[in-house]
Each structure stands twice: as structure tokens, then as C-alpha cells.
């Protein structure tokens, strides 16, 4: 698992490190491809521009990198509604959706999220009975 924190740049997206404190000058797409070639099993892709904003994932970023890689990409940064999660998994082509604010502040439960996606025919793993 390689985590990439990416921020929109004049062209494409730039990788940041140290909790967003240090720009690297590295292109996020090129970096993601390099990590895959090094054997990464999955990419956690966080849009710094969208983090905490609840405006939705950076779908262009998510889709661009998902299209270029074979390994799973986790969409991260910006989920503010269940529709955003749906969009990240469909338009953004992510294998997984990561979210913080909407769950921490109890705007939605995990099951509300999963039911919403299932109704829209997104393949979802439902928990076993009796949990």
C-alpha cells in the first residue's frame, strides 16, 4: 500500500509529503505508475485540495490514476455525501472509497452508505448477519 497525497498543479497533480507540508515536484500520475512498477499492491490516493471540504472526490485525479494502473486505487479526500462516494466508485473508477468526516460526525452510518450503493447496483460486501 502506497499513500499518495496529491495537489493540483499548473499541469496535473503534484505529490506532497509530511502531511502536506513538503512539495516534491513529482507528478502524481508518474509516481503512481512508478509505485505500481515497484510492486505496490494498492494506492491510497488523497486529494489535498478536497480533503475535509466535503465537495466530493477529485474525480479527474481518481479516474486518471485508476485508468493508468492495474492495482486498486482508493479514492480519498472530499467525500461529503453518499452520492460523492457513488461517484468516486463509478465515475472515478476507484476500487474503494475512503471517508472520514461523514462517518465521524455521524451524518451517515456505514450501512446507510452500503445500502445506498447497493440500491444503485454497485457491488458491495454486506456484513454477515448478527453482527
Amino acid at each position: 500500500m502506497v499513500a499518495i497525497d496529491a495537489k493540483r498543479a499548473a499541469r496535473g497533480w503534484e505529490v506532497f509529503t509530511h502531511g502536506g507540508r513538503r512539495p516534491t515536484g513529482i507528478d502524481a500520475c508518474a509516481w503512481a505508475e512508478k509505485m505500481e512498477s515497484y510492486g505496490a499492491g494498492e494506492i491510497l490516493l488523497t486529494s489535498m485540495d478536497r480533503d475535509g471540504t466535503k465537495e466530493g472526490y477529485d474525480l479527474e485525479l481518481t479516474r486518471t490514476i485508476s485508468d493508468r494502473l492495474r492495482i486498486p486505487v482508493i479514492a480519498s479526500g472530499g467525500a461529503g455525501s453518499l452520492e460523492h462516494i457513488y461517484e468516486g466508485l463509478t465515475i472515478g473508477k476507484a476500487s474503494a472509497a475512503l471517508a472520514a468526516s461523514i462517518f465521524h460526525y455521524r451524518e451517515y452510518t456505514i450501512m446507510e452508505c452500503k445500502n445506498y450503493l447497493r440500491e444503485r447496483e454497485v457491488p458491495i460486501r454486506m456484513p454477515a448477519q448478527g453482527r
Binding site: A100, M111, R125
Partner: protein, 106 residues
């Protein structure tokens, strides 16, 4: 088609779950163990713990919080996890969860 996964993310700083905007202005969101247990019980596919200040503070990630919880598969941001500590976290994972009845975690 493989099932899509829903992953609640716990940004952890100084032993608390926090959430910021654009990585800044961190607000307290509660206790990591309590929150993680609720997500586990609710059917989250994975949990993601991010020790968001480890790199900045030039230190190893803090794993102790996971020893107190009993969850499904965790992920941590840094692959350089000390092996011994990771084994401990795995052994904890296999224990039966003792879920508190906290419906709210503040």
C-alpha cells in the same frame, strides 16, 4: 466484479482522531478505539489509520492504539512497520471483539 470497499479513515494525532480541511485546522473527532469499534460493528470493509504527524515529527508510527482494539483488517500509512509490533497487532486482531455499547463516542 470485485466488491467495492468502504473504508472509514481515522486521522490520528496525539492519540485522538482529528479531521482538518486541506490537511489544516484539525478538529477533535473522538477516541480512536471507540470509533474504530463502531465502524467494525457497522460493517466497514477496512479501517485506515493515518498517523498524520509521524513523518513531520520524524518518528515511528504509533501502533499501541491498535493493540487495544479488535478489528478487521487495518491499514497503516507507512509500510515500514516494525515486525514485532505488527505481529502483536495481528494477534490482537484474532481475539473476539468486546464491543462497548457506545452509540456515540465523544
Amino acid at each position: 466484479m470485485l466488491a467495492k470497499r468502504i473504508i472509514p479513515c481515522l486521522d490520528v494525532n496525539a492519540g485522538r482522531v482529528v479531521k482538518g480541511v486541506n490537511f489544516l485546522g484539525l478538529r477533535d473527532a473522538g477516541d480512536p478505539i471507540k470509533i474504530a469499534r463502531v465502524y467494525d460493528r457497522e460493517g466497514a470493509d477496512e479501517l485506515c489509520f493515518l498517523d498524520i504527524t509521524a513523518s513531520h515529527e520524524n518518528r515511528e508510527i504509533i501502533l499501541e492504539m491498535m493493540f487495544g482494539g479488535c478489528f478487521g483488517p487495518e491499514q497503516t500509512r507507512f509500510p515500514s512497520t516494525p515486525e514485532r509490533s505488527y505481529d502483536q497487532s495481528l494477534s490482537v486482531k484474532q481475539q473476539k471483539p468486546s464491543v462497548a455499547n457506545a452509540s456515540w463516542w465523544r
